[in-house]
Symmetry: D3
Subunit: 316 residues, 6 copies
Amino acid sequence: MINAKHQPVDAAEVPRFAGQATFMRLPAVPSAEGLDIALVGIPWDGGTTNRAGARHGPREIRSQSSLMRKVHHVSKIAPFSLANIADVGDLSVNPIDLMDALKRIEEGIASIIAVGAIPLSAGGDHLTTLPVLRAVARHRPVGLIHFDAHSDTNDSYFGGNRYTHGTPFRRAIEEGLLDPKRMVQIGIRGSIYETDEHAWAVEQGIRIIYMEEFTRRGASEVIAEAKAIVGSAPTYVTFDIDSIDPSMAPGTGTPEVGGFTTREAQQMIRLLEGVDIVGADVVEVAPPFDLAGMTAIAGATMMFELMCVIAAKFRS
Amino acid sequence: MINAKHQPVDAAEVPRFAGQATFMRLPAVPSAEGLDIALVGIPWDGGTTNRAGARHGPREIRSQSSLMRKVHHVSKIAPFSLANIADVGDLSVNPIDLMDALKRIEEGIASIIAVGAIPLSAGGDHLTTLPVLRAVARHRPVGLIHFDAHSDTNDSYFGGNRYTHGTPFRRAIEEGLLDPKRMVQIGIRGSIYETDEHAWAVEQGIRIIYMEEFTRRGASEVIAEAKAIVGSAPTYVTFDIDSIDPSMAPGTGTPEVGGFTTREAQQMIRLLEGVDIVGADVVEVAPPFDLAGMTAIAGATMMFELMCVIAAKFRS
Amino acid sequence: MINAKHQPVDAAEVPRFAGQATFMRLPAVPSAEGLDIALVGIPWDGGTTNRAGARHGPREIRSQSSLMRKVHHVSKIAPFSLANIADVGDLSVNPIDLMDALKRIEEGIASIIAVGAIPLSAGGDHLTTLPVLRAVARHRPVGLIHFDAHSDTNDSYFGGNRYTHGTPFRRAIEEGLLDPKRMVQIGIRGSIYETDEHAWAVEQGIRIIYMEEFTRRGASEVIAEAKAIVGSAPTYVTFDIDSIDPSMAPGTGTPEVGGFTTREAQQMIRLLEGVDIVGADVVEVAPPFDLAGMTAIAGATMMFELMCVIAAKFRS
Amino acid sequence: MINAKHQPVDAAEVPRFAGQATFMRLPAVPSAEGLDIALVGIPWDGGTTNRAGARHGPREIRSQSSLMRKVHHVSKIAPFSLANIADVGDLSVNPIDLMDALKRIEEGIASIIAVGAIPLSAGGDHLTTLPVLRAVARHRPVGLIHFDAHSDTNDSYFGGNRYTHGTPFRRAIEEGLLDPKRMVQIGIRGSIYETDEHAWAVEQGIRIIYMEEFTRRGASEVIAEAKAIVGSAPTYVTFDIDSIDPSMAPGTGTPEVGGFTTREAQQMIRLLEGVDIVGADVVEVAPPFDLAGMTAIAGATMMFELMCVIAAKFRS
Amino acid sequence: MINAKHQPVDAAEVPRFAGQATFMRLPAVPSAEGLDIALVGIPWDGGTTNRAGARHGPREIRSQSSLMRKVHHVSKIAPFSLANIADVGDLSVNPIDLMDALKRIEEGIASIIAVGAIPLSAGGDHLTTLPVLRAVARHRPVGLIHFDAHSDTNDSYFGGNRYTHGTPFRRAIEEGLLDPKRMVQIGIRGSIYETDEHAWAVEQGIRIIYMEEFTRRGASEVIAEAKAIVGSAPTYVTFDIDSIDPSMAPGTGTPEVGGFTTREAQQMIRLLEGVDIVGADVVEVAPPFDLAGMTAIAGATMMFELMCVIAAKFRS
Amino acid sequence: MINAKHQPVDAAEVPRFAGQATFMRLPAVPSAEGLDIALVGIPWDGGTTNRAGARHGPREIRSQSSLMRKVHHVSKIAPFSLANIADVGDLSVNPIDLMDALKRIEEGIASIIAVGAIPLSAGGDHLTTLPVLRAVARHRPVGLIHFDAHSDTNDSYFGGNRYTHGTPFRRAIEEGLLDPKRMVQIGIRGSIYETDEHAWAVEQGIRIIYMEEFTRRGASEVIAEAKAIVGSAPTYVTFDIDSIDPSMAPGTGTPEVGGFTTREAQQMIRLLEGVDIVGADVVEVAPPFDLAGMTAIAGATMMFELMCVIAAKFRS
């Protein structure tokens, strides 16, 4: 029954600045029970090697998501009519203890999946995607569409630390959570540690589309290739906000100039319709480094775009 | 039964940055039913003659109130043990229509009072205190302890507008909501429109304690006098954040240098214990002009201080 | 006589930071008498449904317009040689009373038109364009070239308020001020309230060019179509700064990512030469949300670009 | 005739944010002719050894002075009734050429004095006070009441530069513009270059009241001594905004923690009534380092306080 | 030989903004060999339970310490003449691994102490003081003078984490590094978790001087008591920047309004002359939350004040 | 011997925020002796006609250059393997005395060239390029590739000042330092002082490629032409950060909207490989006007890009 679905507060009735902030102005619910898509925050940045702050991401993304309305103006997807969606709050985390945090995050996402909801999360740093994948890919490896300035497939930092926001996708492959042949990374750029820094990733079969290739080929062609790579099997989508140019998303830990415009990013996500998305996230929004909420607005918009393409799966 | 009372989330368990923001990290409840004290937002600044922005006050005060803990370190008041307190959300407002907004606010507060809760609100501009008083003082005039840089007893602005944030207390007296003989204004300062600008207020019987007098006499003496003025009858407490110095509370519409330190303001509020407070507010926190959340932190702290002295009424 | 025309202060003689700020460093004059183009501020944002602040727009645009020089580097238009232009100050407004403000603004613009000057105004929120059109189109409907992220043709807000910055163009059509067949909206984007939100506008005959269409077709083609739509009859040009991307114009009330670059916006305005512009504005610059004056600089630049194409009308 | 005097725009009629910004919202006049007190900007910081930016001071002080009203709430001085006061604009300066700038500033102030007005200027860095004194003290040395964190009596910088904002008062004494026996410096603090850094100043007869002495003795006692030092002869008052604590005036070139509160500064200036002030300034407001206009508000308020005590001279 | 001592760059020769930033503009040296006092950074905030950012503290404190000069203007202490002081760089840390970081910090400080230098460090969060004390107090417990808003003697967080910036002094007592009878905490304030939150600390013998007691008694009396408590035996001084009011030090993780003014803090540190300081630190400066470098300036100034009283030990 | 070359600190070992900041995290060395490329700061902005602040550029560029890694991800150039590169500190400057500063800068660069190193400097305003060219082109005129919003070939300012940041390239041509036939300016835009403002430059033979031409033709074509213009003879590359759009580089003195994206700028610099670069600079980064270090990051990245193409010269 359509009117059983949660509906956001309408800004033509209640001004955007009013009320406790939730994702997309949806109801705050205590669990994912009965939801098709669960919007969830993961306020943790313990894997950050440079500038921390993504722990504050969920709160600010919630606040700025008040700017979103009900219908996508291009695709005409009306996500809240197609799917039952709500804000299930933030996962339990631990800012002091990395291994405990990873465990808590995995359990939190597992409980969402257990009741049949698709998790769409707001990070947190990119290491949070590892425990999310442990829950999402518990039973079989998934494909990955990965928007980022960085490959995040390094091996270790600081003399042996294997769990950082620069290593999640190497760990996920090693743990069998991702099928590297069904992985594509888009927007990679910036100076690198070693000439062969991406060799391991390429050897696994990951397709890396550097920013320069994207600039030459454009969104349509790149996403067509990405969709071919992941195919029709279950796929996770991870969107690191630092894939966007720092002028449009300054509030992040490791800015790299020369990134996507938000227009390009929106265009790409819209083209993902048809992919079997089993989970998605927007990570690395770090409000302490943000300006005028700009990065949180970009993050909230990318969540809205992802929510629309996921909701399209629920079209009868 | 003590454990029937709402309890805030504990920052030693859940980090302060986690979860949807509510006042004092208390549960968000749909109505004031069963509460002793209702924390409520009034996100409206339509009475502002200079810099608007207090409409954004409740959201930011909620966010910064995550810094508060459970017990007052000086008075040892444990408000959440003494009284049942929760966040009832924001009142319905109308950013476009002043008279409609005043009506909505009055009704919102009236519904809180109707179920026996004491409203402690976060504004909004100072005109919001007028409809609040219309609800609080519906059956008899109340006394007023008023912390502010400005007397807010002007008659009209812009060629005849009688409802602005510079006029609420003149209107409230005219409407019989306040007993001017039981009114005291503390911290008044700054250049004035006319030499006799405060003459009307003084003629009504309002006691004005200018900042300079406060500086000479100190908090203890001033509050002793204020308590004598309001006596034991029902009293409302209104705290305009611009009473605090702009260096400590820059995020406000009409800053006046030379204000209270937060230390002085805390000292004064703590001394209000024993006053029969029937409602209170913190107004004029304007986040668009704030710096590093400083004003919202000050506002949240003053709400906490007020909440403690109100909760003290519930000591058995 | 050319040297009878007002000239701006020259930054090679007097540094840009010196002197009281006026639009384009032109003389401040008490009335539009004798002017061809009157630069005027409308410091009012009482129609704003979300974040107010455009009331501060004119002052900051004045300040940043110190960066402008005398000649357009592409078109070589020298506006101050072609037309007599000055800063006539700000219109009388009323921040507290919406209907009074609309009346004051209409009268202010009418007095400019009465002496034969073309008004080029700096808002203020987009509702200010309604009373401006009441003055400009007093005797016949005009065409409209409208740069914006939003159509601003909604019907009402907050349970019946018909005058907000989301409704001016519906009202203007209803009042016969605009000929909807000669209206074009460029840059519209962002999530919408309802699937058919723009149906009314389209039914009236307004041509909506969404951002996505602009991205595909480019500035030349889009403006060629716009010029064909408005034809040679009198036309008003309204430029909402939120048509520009929030990274380039963060200081606005309702940011939508994925907007025009300033380069695209400049390119479009330059192509307007030849349109019979009878008035123009730049609205929704909201300094409290701005960063480093960036939005005010963009607004001042767009005013300069508009001033140049209007001045071109005065070529003998 | 009282109504011949210039009057500021009234914020109860025209909102504070409206109109081109002038000092105290007074009329902008082309010369000091007919004025008793000329408010004037000196947008120059070419003598700055560390962080420049005071060149932008006059514009921001003008903008924030919109917050001032007509009457002093403590002294009840109504400056605009007592004296004819207006904004004469900014002096001609040269940001590139130090010696040329000093000459231009001297000439500018001399032209104000020539028509009988008292200059009250907004700097600019503290070196601007030197050419001002050359004009003010052209015919006899004057006394000086000097509020500052620094003595500004060093000899030279950078291997021989004798004109910097660290040297003006040594130069002024050497040039016979100041009578060192009638000089008092209040608020001096912060680490020093050499143990005997202030020896020269003290030898000349300057009385230095360090911040620590002020803290012990208080405003009344200190100003009583200052008034005794300058006596009844002509005296200049210079107020370096860095005398105020950086938390209240962060926008300055050489911040030193531990400064005056604005309350203390206001208290001191108010007590200057009775001194024969022949000129005054507020210097070192550097907006690029300011926060929320806080320093410019403090500067505008200090100008207002100075204006009031100067206007008191015109009481009949 | 006096001229063997390292000297800072002189701002009267080289402007403050020039050159690579080091503490106090001293030479950067590779080790503490030959130094009396080693200025060292500890860029780590892995113990932070709320807002991280203190990892960026040393770099910004270095930058703002360019404002310091050579001699203390009150005590006339010339630290660089009395003691050999230099910047030994930052300790090796690990942002990802708490236990590894504690070990690295201890070793780093131990290597400074091994060559006979007194460490004066810039944190870093307050947990860094624990490994510092492990090095400083390796052979015997030391006394502690502790300036802070918080007691930092909690037992654990997040369900069992015993090492956070809220627990260092409980751990240090348990490890025998501190003699609780020779410990004094000054400036404690803010709401608390439980009524008896400080009971453990008091039972150990720690003297807690709350802000309210400080306000009543003043700096002289409080420091006299503190000096009596620590006596003549070796003592460590730890200065948490959040002891200072957030208006003067907003850039910190857990702000509490109502703190020390910088004037009060300076006054207290100056009175520490005579204490046998064997190490000291300034912690919790978190630049991402700072405004205009204000907190880093305050931190650099407190380091300078501490350096002066430590240097006084080297008077022959 | 490859391992004799200076290597930067590795962020996978030492976090980016740790340590005293140097250019690219390279060693700070006392002279250019033995270097192939000398990274050097020129902290001076005495030629600035509008907003000063570039004096603070080198320090912030150093700080943000911590984000750079060792290898270029597109060209695979590993600069630190090809060439010996280090940070030689800042040149001696004089913020108070223009002519003295020009002399000091020339001498500083001359001493770098004397030992055979190529200077790559971080300004400073654009006038600093004049004394740099005096050293670089001491023995023969050089070619110039000049990225900028402004031509900087004006004759004089403020009634005769011939040395400002708007005049360096006219002076350099007059002094025979530049061969105007081998000069190309790219990105020029913005309103101009006079219709024929660039006539002199064009008459000398300078090729001006306005932003609009760049937009039409693209980076490859434009740089191909630029390389043809400068040919194989020695060439200097100067990169004014204001060539980049103010949304990506707001921290500069004279912002002009409609500039290069960083992606376009990077693309252009990368194509410079093969040019015989004898010196290069990045100028006009003005941190006081910057946001979130964005401009300094852009500046550091452009330095890195330039360093890579210069280092390519050292390929054996």
